[in-house]
């Protein structure tokens, strides 16, 4: 492999990795507070993609948008995607998980609920919006922005990397520096004691879902921008991001970021060396290997311990 190849593939990997990292946040936050493998998070991601398409179809991008227009479209898309994702996550928690929480149901019951909710949501989306893939309406002319180490970086790639990193910084800040963050960490550590200390657990859980949903929805929009939007689009990225969360140490926010980046880069290199057919082989192989060596992920578990 030449050096040229290396940087080229690395860029593709970082683009993928930032998406995975942002999605993985949603898994890891929810796991932190509820110890729940929230399978339905991939559907939150999918909703974000459709949110973007809906918003942009409504405003109908003009043929040759100016810079300001383009920026407006992008921001509109991200916001709609994130808001729709958060809405779905919020109602998911309220309708599906809260009744279980009230009766202290075992974890497997949560898991099956999550699977059921996921089936329901993606099939509903398929029914409402059609089961064919659709492209995101064009918001800008996608061209090369700059070249680094002979590797060109285009607008979409730059957009994904920048907004991904920005979102990760925001989440990191929220979890470590705000009141909501300390609530999340407290609940993750010990919900009973947190509740005695005056933390409103319902509120914290609900907001955790909203935070995860915002991230997932925005990631869905970004994913739709570079690929396509379709009703099953959440499944494979969802599973990979889920693996990323586990790889980093589930419940650990920085671990999820690290895990996401790692899996994105591993995937890009796997595709480059072995071909598209083996795409997920590297990621899952790495996952199994890492977990055999370090049973609680690279950085270990728990939201609480990142503080």
């Amino acid at each position: 492999m030449t050096l040229f190849d290396f940087w080229d593939v690395l860029v593709l990997g970082v683009v993928l990795g930032s998406l995975y990292a942002v999605i993985a946040i949603g898994y890891t936050l929810v796991y932190g507070v509820l110890q729940l493998l929230n399978f339905a998070h991939s559907e939150v991601f999918m909703t974000g993609g459709f949110g973007g398409v809906i918003a942009l179809t409504l405003v109908v991008p003009v043929a040759a948008p100016s810079l300001a227009q383009s920026a407006g479209y992008v921001i509109l898309g991200i916001c709609t995607g994130a808001l729709l994702g958060a809405t779905v996550a919020f109602f998911l928690e309220k309708v599906a998980y809260r009744p279980l929480r009230r009766r202290n149901a075992p974890r497997l019951v949560f898991l099956i609920t999550a699977i059921g909710a996921s089936f329901f949501l993606y099939n509903l989306a398929g029914k409402l919006f059609g089961r064919n893939a659709m492209p995101m309406p064009r918001m800008y002319e996608n061209r090369t922005v700059f070249t680094i180490f002979d590797t060109t970086i285009n607008i979409t790639q730059l957009l994904i990397i920048c907004s991904g990193v920005l979102m990760l910084l925001i989440v990191d800040h929220v979890v470590n520096r705000t009141k909501l963050g300390s609530g999340i960490r407290a609940v993750a550590q010990d919900p009973e004691v947190a509740s005695l200390m005056g933390v409103n657990i319902d509120k914290v859980v609900s907001r955790t879902f909203i935070l995860g949903g915002l991230m997932g929805g925005a990631a869905g929009f970004l994913f739709g921008t570079t690929n396509q939007v379709f009703y099953t689009m959440g499944f494979l990225p969802g599973i990979t991001a889920f693996a990323a969360a586990v790889l980093g140490g589930i419940g650990n926010v920085r671990g999820a970021m690290l895990g996401g980046m790692t899996l994105g880069i591993v995937e890009a290199f796997t595709v480059d060396v072995f071909g598209d057919a083996w795409r997920y082989f590297g990621a899952f192989g790495a996952l199994v290997l890492v977990l055999m060596i370090r049973p609680t992920g690279i950085l270990g578990e728990r939201v609480a311990r990142t503080a």
């Binding site: 190849d5 080229d8 593939v9 593709l12 683009v15 993928l16 309220k94 309708v95 809260r98 009744p99 009230r102 089961r131 064919n132 893939a133 659709m134 492209p135 309406p137 064009r138 002319e141 996608n142 060109t152 285009n154 979409t156 570079t226 690929n227 396509q228 689009m233 494979l236 990225p237 890009a268 595709v271 480059d272 071909g275 598209d276 057919a277 795409r279």
Partner: protein, 389 residues
Amino acid sequence: MLSKRVVKLAIPVAIGALALTACGDDGGGGGGDASGTVFKIAYQGPLSGDNVDLGINMENGVKLAIAEANESGDYDVTFEYLDADDRGEPGQATAAAQRAIDDEDVIAVVGPAFSGAAAVAAPLYGEAGMAALSPSATNPDLTQQGFPTFLRGVPNDAEQGAAIATFFAEQGVEKAMVIDDLDDYSIGLANVAQQGMEEAGIEVVRESVPSDTVDHSGIARTAVTSGADGLVYTGYYSQAGPLAVKLSEAGFDGIKLAGDGVKDPEFISLAPGGEAEEWYLSCPCRDLDADQEGRDFAERYEAEYNRAPGTYTPEAYDAAMMIIEAVAELGEAADRQSVYEAISVGTHDGVAKTLSFDENGEYAGSGIYIYRVENDTITALGDITEITG
């Protein structure tokens, strides 16, 4: 706040009401004017899944043939339609074929539409002694395996692959990348095209992109760095759209060509930035605008379904018509075996072409057409022999 109790109450109601509406929507199928014996003609192909548009194009062709036959009043028997959805996947083909076989009114099948599904379903139809006349399964191997009742109504991919190779040689391509999607049809076509090009002295790089791939930036990069000046994609439109986008982003500037699985308007709408422009599409399917009969068919079709006929619509229509005529000829006494025997030696002058078969069930005839995407429409360039001279 949505309390547990509300949920407790709301959900049973939801289910109750749901059951009600579900029942309400149902019904109203069939009817028919009850003249003579009823024969069903099944269509097996993708009626759901990623490539549903290709399947629906054919299904509508079959339905149109059945409707016209019943309305014409020329026949003493009545025809009905049965759908056998296989999603275009070999894994679903057994169940779909069983559905057609288990219904004793089904006299013959149009399909299976895709080659992978056909390889799985054809032996079952063989065991049941029922004709399976495929309007679109083009993998060359299918007629070489001795399936007892499989008939093919289109030129196979040996011809299409050779045509692609000739076309690339004609265009002066020196190094070509051939991409398949690991599907039966796709691998078959890619193999023939690769072989043809290598014989013509074109260097070939072979890649596989599975049909469930969501991110095509990797393969686009590989295509650019390979230095190929021509690219052949042998999968279906649902993947070709995003692939075209990524190829254009990566700056691939060679000749791009795709097989008949991509010849669908959906391909263009999946690449909204005009990335599908200048793609060539090869297809053993004829351009309907070329003569009066074809234009008439297109008109009738559009009146019925509010859309233009798609790829293989006329072929499916022809196949269904051929079955209908064979059954009408045999009358009430028609059974699966006799219908198969009648079709396999018969000739049918259809909208798209004249259908007849050799002893292997292979289509007796030829003709590969080249199309090109120009200004967001698929434009016919003509027969391969005309283009390459």
